[in-house]
């Protein structure tokens, strides 16, 4: 499925804004992304398996709050960073 990558994480994906990954849950998808792009998962998920405070994940434009959310092969996943500056 397609995964949208925000700017701060594109150093992991070779500057790609959109990548392909697989998984039947968000947890599996993030594990696959971490296999393809080592280090990716810990930058967005804490050691307590929580989505980090300034990160949001949307599946087909609906926010996912846990890693157990089921996924379908044609789903679109967006990883979003909060906008901030200074």
């Amino acid at each position: 499925m397609k995964v949208y990558i925000p700017t701060p994480l594109r150093s992991y994906t070779g500057r790609k804004s959109e990548v392909e990954a697989i998984g039947s849950t968000l947890e599996e998808l993030l594990s696959d992304l971490d296999r393809r792009y080592p280090g990716f998962r810990f930058r967005v998920i804490t050691e307590q398996d929580q989505i980090r405070e300034h990160i949001k994940v949307f599946i087909n434009q609906e926010q996912a709050l846990t890693l157990t959310v089921p996924l379908q092969p044609n789903d679109e996943v967006q990883v979003i960073c909060a906008i901030s500056g200074g």
Partner: protein
């Protein structure tokens, strides 16, 4: 703990360095490297490295003189550590950066906010590094910083939350810092907690005990509290490991382990000068010589050079007397703030002393603080400055 004899490691002082030098500068918006020539007169600024990343500490491995670790994060993403094995020219991210253990179901676990302090391990353990974090945690790598494991002896110590939480959570988060290894014994480790005090382990981190006897902490309800002290920075002298120096929230202290009590040496500073500061650095060959950078310690939290007149203060007699050093520094309207990792020394003769300000300036003295020059300005807020001898 049995009393240790106050015996120097080497009776003849460490040989002074003569090679080229670099200053590793961590800032709120990335890292920079100032490379100096052998004379320490010509400097070239390289960077930014990891632009936009918050770099709390960047340290060279003094054992191999080419590996550098950098503790970094961004405002949005989780913390990590980068390793360079070519003196900062290229970088590789840790495949398993420091992280707390996952809590059992139904319990709230710790989430690492940032890695704050990096220390190479004992010379007999090449590749070993330690990292201190916020919230306070201790981590160890055995492969040069690529994979990290928590030091369970502290992170899961039954007293950890009591030690860490003694003062509550300060703005910016409580930290574990000043990790130092006894050069005579790889299992003898010191570290400090901001809002906890000084702690030591004599079994490579398997257990810890407070080491705060003699410290004044006027904000604590118990005058001779065993822990809860606000240690800002501690240093162990490499040639006289029985000698510890500490810049504390409540003054400057020295401890000789044979005595086992912290002795206030900040009260020998001139009355008009604050004994509040964050960094403290030691002469690499003379255990009696120490520099501090006094900051206004009064409330409401000035933490800038007293009176807008920045200066270092040096003692050459272990704290019995102090001398002001301000030649070349602004004589008025110089409101410098220097963080605890942002002051360092080199190993040349005479010793070079360096500090970085939160206003983005790096200052240097080639003559042990007698005269200062500005090496770089207009950098982001500086968090750390470490000397790297090549």
């Amino acid at each position: 703990m049995p009393r240790r004899k106050s015996t120097p490691v080497k009776t003849v002082g460490l040989k002074s360095a003569t090679g080229s030098l670099a200053l590793l500068v961590g800032t709120r918006k990335g890292a920079f490297i100032l490379r100096g020539d052998k004379s320490r007169r010509a400097w070239k600024l390289a960077g930014p490295i990891h632009l936009g990343g918050i770099v709390h500490h960047m340290v060279m491995d003094s054992r191999d003189r080419h590996t550098i670790l950098m503790a970094a994060r961004t405002g949005h993403l989780g913390p990590t550590i980068f390793q360079s094995t070519d003196r900062g020219r290229s970088w590789k991210e840790a495949s398993k950066p420091p992280a707390f253990s996952k809590a059992p179901e139904g319990e709230k676990g710790l989430v690492l906010d940032h890695n704050f302090w990096l220390s190479p391990g004992h010379p007999s353990e090449p590749g070993v590094w330690y990292a201190g974090s916020s919230p306070p945690g201790l981590f160890r790598s055995e492969d040069g910083g690529i994979t990290w494991e928590g030091v369970a002896g502290f992170n899961k110590h039954p007293m950890r939350s009591t030690w860490v939480g003694a003062l509550g959570e300060p703005p910016g988060g409580a930290t574990l810092h000043s990790i130092m290894i006894d050069p005579r014994d790889s299992g003898h480790i010191y570290m400090c907690l901001s809002g906890g005090g000084v702690f030591e382990s004599t079994n490579q981190g398997a257990d810890w005990r407070p080491l705060n006897k003699g410290l004044l902490s006027d904000f604590l309800p118990i005058p001779d509290a065993e822990y809860g002290h606000d240690a800002h920075c501690m240093r162990l002298h490499p040639l006289l490991p029985e000698r510890l120096y500490q810049q504390n929230h409540c003054g400057i202290y020295r401890m000789d382990r044979a005595e086992g009590v912290w002795v206030n040496i900040g009260n020998k500073l001139p009355k008009a000068v604050s004994d509040h500061s964050f960094p403290i650095v030691l002469h690499p060959r003379d255990p009696e010589t120490v520099w501090v950078f006094p900051l206004d310690g009064s409330f409401p939290l000035g933490r800038v050079s007293p009176g807008g007149k920045p200066a270092t203060y040096i003692t050459r007699d272990g704290g019995k007397s102090w001398q002001r050093q301000d030649k070349g520094l602004p004589q008025r309207q110089g409101w410098f703030t220097v963080k605890r990792q942002a002051m360092t020394v080199d190993a040349h003769d005479p010793v070079g002393v360096y500090f970085g300000t939160t206003g983005g300036e790096v200052w240097a003295s080639r003559d042990e603080g007698e005269a200062w020059t500005c090496l770089a300005s207009h950098l982001p807020e500086i968090y750390s400055v470490e000397a790297a001898e090549f």
